[in-house]
């Protein structure tokens, strides 16, 4: 034990001093604006060495604390650097004239005022609200009906479940292009056959919007269905049996027993579709890229007829190179999502109290 402890001390001190030395060298090089390629490696190795030194530190009393620090450090560090710091910076940048690299002055709420004076942005908000509303109803309805179908006693249900869920596995970009092909080639053949009019749904804002909803339901309903199936399976068999003995019709069983009993599931699914439809980006980008003309909205001609909020933020900042305005829009986006989440938590907690 003694040998072990003294060797631990040596390792620990070596790691600590080595690590500190490496980090100091690296930071001095950085501060001197050196271009030596090994300074990055020094910094990382130094950091790991310090952590290892703390880890091997032999005083038993504090060992537990050190282990806790070392265990918590990697995730907390990455989290702070990728989420917390950019969030704080981002909210700050939205009040400045930041252009992605430098900022010259504080502009107060100018960006916020500017975004609400853009008809194209107002249009994006309205379109997103409409999209969310349609999807909340349609996805949940379709998913619930699929779940009812998949919880009845039929042969081959495992296959149907897997098949309905399958589209959810595929990323929005790939899926968007597959559907772009379908709307541009297959559906046009259908309209040619039916109305003798070669018409692509993606060419007009209104029908393109419907197209996005169709694709979204196709992608998402299978996933929501799985959650409804889980919910429906928690309805005890005895209750359903008792109902059928008492002569309840299938409709009565559905509306009086099944739906009230899975109310928490319905809450979960509603909010899941709400937030996910609200954040919709990939399909929007791949299917229409937000294009589509609107002849007159608030007195302006718009070319972003199918552009939803997430895509509008991206286009404002990255494509049109207006970083501070894009960031202000993103902050608004964040506030809306935060409010929705708080409402969800309130509703769920209330339900739990009632139960």
């Amino acid at each position: 034990m003694a040998v072990n402890s003294s060797s631990r001390r040596v390792i620990s001190l070596a790691c600590l001093f080595g690590g500190i030395a490496l980090m100091v060298i690296a930071l001095i090089l950085d501060a001197m604006k050196s271009d030596a390629p090994f300074r990055g490696a020094f910094l990382v190795i130094g950091m790991i060495a310090i952590l290892a030194g703390l880890f091997f530190f032999p005083t038993l009393k504090h060992h537990r604390t050190f282990v806790y620090v070392v265990f918590l450090f990697p995730l907390l560090f990455t989290f702070v650097v990728t989420v917390i710091i950019p969030l704080v910076l981002g909210i700050g940048y939205s009040f400045t004239d930041w252009d992605g690299i430098r900022l010259t002055k504080f502009v107060g709420f100018a960006n916020y005022g500017k975004m609400f004076s853009q008809p194209s942005f107002i249009w994006s908000i309205l379109l997103t609200v409409l999209f969310v509303a349609f999807n909340m109803v349609l996805v949940n309805l379709v998913a619930f009906l699929l779940a009812l179908l998949c919880t009845s006693k039929l042969r081959g249900l495992g296959f149907f479940r897997a098949a309905y869920f399958l589209p959810n596995l595929i990323g929005g970009i790939v899926l968007g292009y597959i559907w772009q092909f379908i709307f541009a080639n297959v559906v046009t053949n259908l309209t040619t056959a039916l109305f003798d009019n070669r018409y692509s749904m993606l060419s007009e804002s209104k029908t393109a919007f419907i197209a996005i909803i169709i694709v979204y339901i196709w992608q998402y309903a299978g996933y929501i269905m799985l959650i409804y199936i889980t919910g429906l399976n928690t309805v005890p068999g005895e209750v359903l049996e008792a109902a059928s003995i008492d002569g309840a019709s299938p409709m009565q069983t559905l509306f009086k027993i099944k739906i009230p009993m899975i109310a928490p599931t319905i809450t979960i699914c509603t909010f899941l579709t709400l937030t996910s439809a609200f954040k919709q980006f990939d399909v929007n980008l791949a299917l229409t890229n937000g294009t589509g003309s609107i002849s007159n909205f608030l007195g302006e001609y718009l070319t972003n007829g199918t552009e939803m909020l997430a895509l509008n933020i991206y286009n404002t900042a990255v494509i049109n190179d207006n970083y501070s305005l894009g960031e202000a829009k993103a902050v608004l986006f964040f506030i809306i999502l935060a409010v929705v989440s708080i409402v969800q938590v309130r509703i769920s907690n209330k339900k739990e109290v009632e139960l």
Partner: protein
């Protein structure tokens, strides 16, 4: 735990009602799977055959399929194998690190749940789950660029940088699900080991971590589906036409350069889908279960 009723329990439905239900189920399945059918048949055709009739099997041949796949995989705009490799490395390394770091952090938070700092950290993690990527992406790129320039490690356009970002973004949900599980692990187990002189790091790796296997499967599935399919983060960090590309970024870049060559685009789409389908066929049950658990907990 809620009671689960097995679907196979009891008799199967019979009669005309059941037949109608099966027919409806089949029709829906045909509708849902039809796009996949279109992808497969049209990536085995020439552009002319697709324009002539995208639904029929006319012009479908293995030879043409091979030709299209060869064209796609050797295309310099797509660079399929390189993008595929990048995606695999990013996903696998991120998932491994998230499971390891997430498990470590969740355990520490759980074991200190009576202290103020652990409560605060846990609360910040949970609260951060509502933060959309859009609000952090612009400053994130700026921060990574500045940090990278300062320390001499390229954080943008590099695989380590993107893995770092995924650890940061995936951390919150991972910790949330893992803490929920670890709370249920009896503390006696650890106490006994601790009295026997087992140091805390050994307790974690020898006792706790192996116990986490089922919940780590769930976490890995959820994170894996997200990371593999994610487009916005890699496109922001790696750039549209950078040297390093993930599969979704490569598909986007490829389609941009081949506007009307649908046979190539669909062949590319097929290549991008196949890995996911294979994983799904192998681990169908776990994936569907993992997705449900993630939704109900998150």
């Amino acid at each position: 735990m809620a009671r689960r009723r097995k679907d196979t329990e009891g008799r199967l439905e019979r009669g005309p009602g059941a037949v109608i239900k099966v027919i409806i189920a089949i029709l829906i399945a045909v509708y849902v799977l039809f796009p996949f059918y279109l992808v497969v048949i049209n990536s085995a055709k020439t552009t002319a055959d697709i324009t002539a009739n995208p639904i029929s099997l006319n012009g479908v041949s293995f030879q043409q399929l091979g030709q299209n796949l060869l064209d796609v995989t050797t295309n310099t705009h797509f660079e399929f194998w390189s993008a595929f490799g990048t995606s695999v490395i990013i996903t696998v390394v991120s998932l491994f690190l998230l499971a390891l770091f997430g498990g470590m952090a969740a355990w520490v938070i759980c074991r200190n749940n009576k202290t103020k700092w652990a409560t605060v950290i846990y609360f910040v993690f949970i609260a951060s789950m509502i933060i959309p990527f859009q609000v952090v992406m612009l400053p994130l790129i700026a921060t990574f660029r500045d940090v990278g320039k300062f320390v001499g490690i390229s954080m943008l356009q590099s695989i380590p940088g993107i893995v770092f970002a995924y650890c940061g973004f995936g951390g919150a949900m991972t910790v949330f699900i893992l803490v929920g599980f670890i709370k249920g692990v009896p503390y006696d187990l650890e106490e006994a080991a601790s009295i026997d002189g087992c140091p805390p790091e050994k307790i974690f790796f020898k006792i706790i971590f192996p116990l986490l296997k089922p919940v780590l499967t769930t976490v890995t599935i959820l994170n894996g589906m997200w990371i593999w399919n994610d487009y916005l983060l890699p496109s922001m960090m790696l750039g549209q036409n950078g040297k390093v590309k993930t599969l979704p970024v490569a598909v986007q870049a490829f389609v941009g350069s081949y506007v009307k060559e649908w046979n190539m685009i669909l062949a590319a789409a097929m290549l991008a889908i196949i890995p996911m389908i294979i994983v799904f066929l192998v681990a169908q049950k776990q994936i569907m279960k993992g997705m449900i658990e993630g939704a109900v907990k998150g």
